[in-house]
Symmetry: C2
Subunit: 300 residues, 2 copies
Amino acid sequence: MQRVGFIGLGRMGGPCVRNLLKKGYEVRIWARSPEKARHLVEAGAVLCGSPAAAAAEADIFLTCVTAGPDVEDILLGEDGVCRGARPGLICADMSTISVSAARNLAERVAAHGAFFLDAPVSGGVRAAESGTLAIWAGGDASAFAGARPVLESMGTHVRHLGPSGSGQIAKACNQLIVSASLLAVGEAFRLCEAAGTDPARVREALLDGGSAAGFVLENQGKRMLSSEPDTGFTVRLLLKDIRQVMEQRAKTGAWLPLTEEIAALLEDAVEQGGGDEGTTRLFRLLSSPDRCRGSLRAEA
Amino acid sequence: MQRVGFIGLGRMGGPCVRNLLKKGYEVRIWARSPEKARHLVEAGAVLCGSPAAAAAEADIFLTCVTAGPDVEDILLGEDGVCRGARPGLICADMSTISVSAARNLAERVAAHGAFFLDAPVSGGVRAAESGTLAIWAGGDASAFAGARPVLESMGTHVRHLGPSGSGQIAKACNQLIVSASLLAVGEAFRLCEAAGTDPARVREALLDGGSAAGFVLENQGKRMLSSEPDTGFTVRLLLKDIRQVMEQRAKTGAWLPLTEEIAALLEDAVEQGGGDEGTTRLFRLLSSPDRCRGSLRAEA
């Protein structure tokens, strides 16, 4: 059985490690704050003293963090994974980072005789817990084939999309469509409220045969109308992802007017102090009169 | 069995009349250009000399046209439906018109002792043909109950959403979310192309477990990538619907920034001569360099 290293034990990574352990994998982990790894050590993971040590006997190394520089540091820093790597190690990065960062890492990891796959995920904490993530991989096809059994221990929708960066392109597309849908569903509900129509009944109607039906209307739409706090994916994290779409847009010169508007609205929401709210609070946050600023001033 | 009158024998209305005839309803029709009704007369419909004549013995009167003024003319004009209506006639308008026009018609039809339901539909020509439309009704609940069997002969997702205008609110929400999704999917595919990634593979991946999954990515997304001409719902008709959302926005003062951007992009596309193209050609139309103008100039 392949041996696995894992760094990034947060709300997404933690459940992934548990799923790997359940499947019988030996998982060596490292964490900047070792106390955060305790529950995983109790579940059977082996805590190591550095990324290099966690990589020492690994066949596959997984990272699941927030930003590109963190991945770079973990893989290529002093005491990084590549320092401890055996030849042919396959690094699969489940973080959402930019396409160019992924391509750059792939080249630099290859210089160490290892492989790098960009392998961002979709589905959120619930899918991480249930092992039903979607995982979109870019990079060398044989490295993907090697990583596949491990990836399929965490996700039920695992696909190879092409060369390095392809996984991040797919994730960027997903986040672009999701953010447009989130804002559109928010605006639709606002339209209902302004007209005195119950948005919950409209949501149910649209989901039942309407062409507006989809994952966001179904799931985030339900949470938008709930009074429960939204502890899910935050506005700040969505903004991070959309900034990466904008970076890719700048690199390629692609004309993406809706994405530009979305990016501006997310920047507004974070500037207004809403970065740590769940994305389902996004539209309410933006349209709340006491937080008005930026493009909101027109209406004020 | 209830007797039905029907006006609006186009690509949506024509198949609806056929489905009513198949279910055994007697359907009396009227058309400004009688030759366009011939295929329906051959299928068993009775062609009448005026809207009033088509309404003379009807229990339910259906209209399925493009614009509010047409509905008004058919129902309330000289020789209109209300002139020939028996007391208690239920008019159900399947057109997509503004909320205020629907509410206004409801009041004026009521003054004639008849009922008016706004009952816009979703699902397109295919759903009209297969009798699987979604139909979202607003208006008097007992009138809805009376019209229900007839509506269910044309649609499998028939719902009453509340008082007059509620059906049009639901339709407005549907069109708002669909137009945002159409543009977002277009931009996502453009992002793929600019990065050298196959949009068809990305589409398949996102549909398989991605949070971007939905009706538009599935159906219109497929047609966007097809080389077949798109003979479906046109950009002009979508713009008409979004203008009605904007009208509702102006009436209520609701802040809908994404909708504003979408409306501007659709206006651009129509001004560029793309009004008669299918909506799945929308993004390609907007981003085609030889048609650049309006907000496109920034990139040119």
